[in-house]
């Protein structure tokens, strides 16, 4: 009996010592080797976007942006109510349902507005995610870890802007496999996805794909840098945000 106990204590001590050493051994094995940041990468405190709807408002123009976004991110092409989309267009009453006005200028009412994730400053999707698969980066971008997501779709219920899509089926079935963008991963079924403000492009010094394709109609920059192009437009033009009452502080602004 006594011997047994002594043996056990010894064993426990050895195990504890092992545990204490293990992390160091692991560290030296290169599991967490430092990653060098791309010197060309773009940085901000909070990325934001201003969309000039006086310049960009037809369905076709916006479809072009959506196309380039969906192509480089390997977004599956689906139609109907199970569709997956990162960037799309809709009419005024659907875009600003709480800011409707029956006597609005016809033209404003009939414009199409580009819709995408607003990368909110207080994102409700991040608040509800039970696995941190949706998280906010230090640069304000609300990003997704597709490998962490369990597909509970709580974030979809929480987003007041309908910005998220779920892969109800196998997304690769609806992709042009011959023309994939090899630089961006495809997704598996059962996970949620959405616009990521092109973090992968910002990291190498490029502007988001839609900004580039918009030919000046979309401005992108740091919301907390008074000198940024975004702040310049916000100072000069009147802008709207979608559903300000939801308290999420969307970072996509619309020049009306």
């Amino acid at each position: 009996m006594k011997n047994n106990r002594r043996a056990f204590i010894k064993l426990a001590a050895v195990a504890a010592a092992g545990l204490a050493v293990a992390p160091k051994a692991m560290a030296s094995s290169g599991g967490h080797s430092p990653v060098k940041a791309n010197p060309k990468g773009l940085h901000a405190k909070q990325w934001a976007m201003v969309i000039d709807s006086t310049k960009l408002h037809s369905e076709e123009e916006i479809a072009k942006l959506a196309d380039s976004c969906h192509k480089i991110h390997n977004v599956p092409e689906l139609t109907g109510k199970k569709e997956v989309k990162w960037l799309w267009s809709d009419i005024y009453p659907h875009t600003f349902p709480e800011q409707e006005n029956p006597h609005l200028a016809e033209e404003v009412h009939h414009r199409h507005y580009p819709l995408l994730c607003n990368h909110c400053e207080h994102p409700s999707c991040v608040r509800v995610c039970p696995t941190k698969a949706t998280f906010k980066r230090p640069d304000g971008i609300v990003a997704m870890d597709y490998h962490r997501c369990i597909g509970c779709r709580y974030c979809m219920a929480a987003c007041p802007y309908g910005s998220r899509s779920f892969n109800w089926g196998e997304p690769r079935k609806n992709l042009d496999l011959a023309n994939l963008n090899p630089k961006f991963p495809t997704r598996m079924r059962g996970v949620v996805e959405k616009c990521n403000f092109c973090v992968e492009r910002l990291a190498v010094g490029d502007m988001p794909a839609c900004v580039e394709a918009s030919e000046g109609a979309i401005v992108f920059g740091d919301l907390y840098d008074p000198e940024s192009p975004v702040r310049k437009v916000l100072r000069e033009r009147f802008t709207l945000r979608r559903k300000p009452a939801a308290g999420t502080e969307p970072c996509v602004y619309y020049v009306i």
């Binding site: 009453p93 349902p97 941190k132 709580y154 007041p160 309908g162 079924r189």
Partner: protein, 426 residues
């Protein structure tokens, strides 16, 4: 004690076999879902939760409702309920298992389920919901099983169990509150964004849950020698009556707030549900059925003569269960997603496969209930607790009518006598 579940009549085995067949059929649909993903369901980008989550929500109510028997017994020493307590607890176990089942079939990547534990995220209500559901399951297993074992050995219930029992009573409220919080804290979903939602959840749980329990108990009486004590039954029916009234009162509060304030967001969901919007009328008929049946159920429950009519009672309860199910098991969820964030309507209807998977989980729940109730009734029979007397009374009723007393079976006067002799001890 599990061995008690293994010996049974032919009818018992036939029922178990039937449930297993249902589970098997549903399982094929589930395998299909695992192979092809949730695309086999009717859910969509706009209505991203469907039948699974709404059934989960409804069943949490059933789990929480057991407390309506447990609480009077332990907090108010209302001993008339004593022999019903175990059934409330066992029902809660089955309900918790069904709830967990519905969550598992609903998530897109079930193999990653443990991410919720590996990466605990206290700011997510889903994390807390997992904790309270599993905790409640554990508490009821522990309390129910230990008490029954003590009963069987003719021993008093162990003292160390007390703290667990009191915890479980409070816990029961938490499971439904936390489940309501799951919905209630979301910006932009006006039908759910109401401080009274948790209260509504509890009110509807405390009428629909005991109603389902009573229906199951009535079926149990048919097949076993167990008999519900009349006073316990009456108390429970009164609780159901009050809870249903409160439930509908809360609903009326929502209607007032929405329409008197005239705020579009608050009205739209209700208008869609009860009148249809943008040319969509999918739920209008059902929602009015809910109102109609709720009115009938309340009328039958608050009129003492109709409430005490044991022949009528099962029908009353069925009407109530259907009404609350339409409200909470269907309308609440679909009305929450519609109108969508774009102020449009995306109709949702479960697909056949979705219903089959749901059937699998319901059958699983029925199996658990059957086995647990079988064990409980066998033990009660061994102990001679709450057994049916030939005249239809329970041995707990202080009813001295035996066969010799000559009481005809369906006209037992013992009931009134019992009521006089043993007034409710509340």
């Amino acid at each position: 004690m599990l061995e008690l579940a293994l010996k049974g009549s032919k009818r018992y085995y036939a029922w178990i076999g039937f449930l297993l067949v249902l589970i098997g059929i549903g399982f094929t649909a589930w395998v299909d879902q695992i192979m092809n993903g949730l695309e086999i369901t009717g859910m969509s980008r706009d209505v991203s939760w469907g039948f699974y989550i709404s059934q989960f929500t409804y069943l949490v109510g059933l789990a929480a409702s057991g407390v309506m028997i447990v609480l009077p017994n332990y907090f108010h020493s209302y001993k008339t309920n004593k022999h019903m307590v175990i059934f409330g607890e066992f029902m809660a176990i089955a309900a918790c298992i069904m709830c967990l089942g519905f969550i598992i079939v609903d998530i897109g990547q079930p193999t990653r389920m443990m991410n919720m534990i590996f990466h605990p995220t206290p700011n997510s209500i889903l994390f807390w919901d997992m904790i309270v559901l599993n905790g409640y399951l554990f508490l009821n297993l522990l309390v129910g099983w230990t008490c029954l074992q003590a009963d069987r050995a003719n021993l008093p219930h162990p003292k160390w169990l007390k703290p667990f029992i009191y915890t479980s009573v409070i816990w029961a409220f938490s499971i439904h509150t936390v489940t309501a919080f799951l919905y209630q804290g979301l910006p932009g979903r006006h039908y759910w964004l109401t401080a009274i939602l948790a209260a509504r959840f509890l009110a509807s749980a405390f009428c629909s849950g005991p109603a389902i329990l009573l229906l199951v108990m009535m079926a149990t009486e048919k097949f076993t020698t167990f008999k519900m004590p009349k006073n316990a039954l009456k108390t429970l029916v009164k609780i159901i009556a009050y809870a249903m009234c409160v439930n509908m009162f809360f609903f009326a509060l929502e209607i007032f707030t929405a329409f008197y304030s005239n705020i579009p967001g608050h009205m739209h969901s209700i208008v869609y549900l009860f009148a249809g919007e943008h040319g969509h009328h999918e739920l209008v008929g059902l929602m009015w059925t809910f109102i109609g049946m709720a009115a009938i159920a309340i009328t039958l429950l608050v009129t003492p003569k109709l409430r005490n009519n044991l022949k009528l009672l099962p029908y009353t309860l069925v009407i109530l269960v259907i009404a609350t199910w339409i409200d909470k098991g269907l309308g609440l969820l679909i009305g929450g997603f519609n109108p969508t964030p774009f102020d449009t309507i995306t109709p949702y209807w479960p697909t056949g496969k979705e219903l089959m998977v749901s059937m699998m989980i319901y059958a699983l729940g029925a199996l658990v209930v059957t086995v647990l109730f079988k064990i409980a009734t066998e033990v009660k029979e061994e102990m001679g607790h709450s057994q049916e007397l030939p005249c239809g009374c329970s041995t707990e009723d202080n009813c001295d009518c035996t066969l010799e007393c000559g009481c005809p079976k369906d006209n037992c006067t013992c009931e009134e006598e019992a009521a006089e002799e043993a007034p409710a001890e509340a």
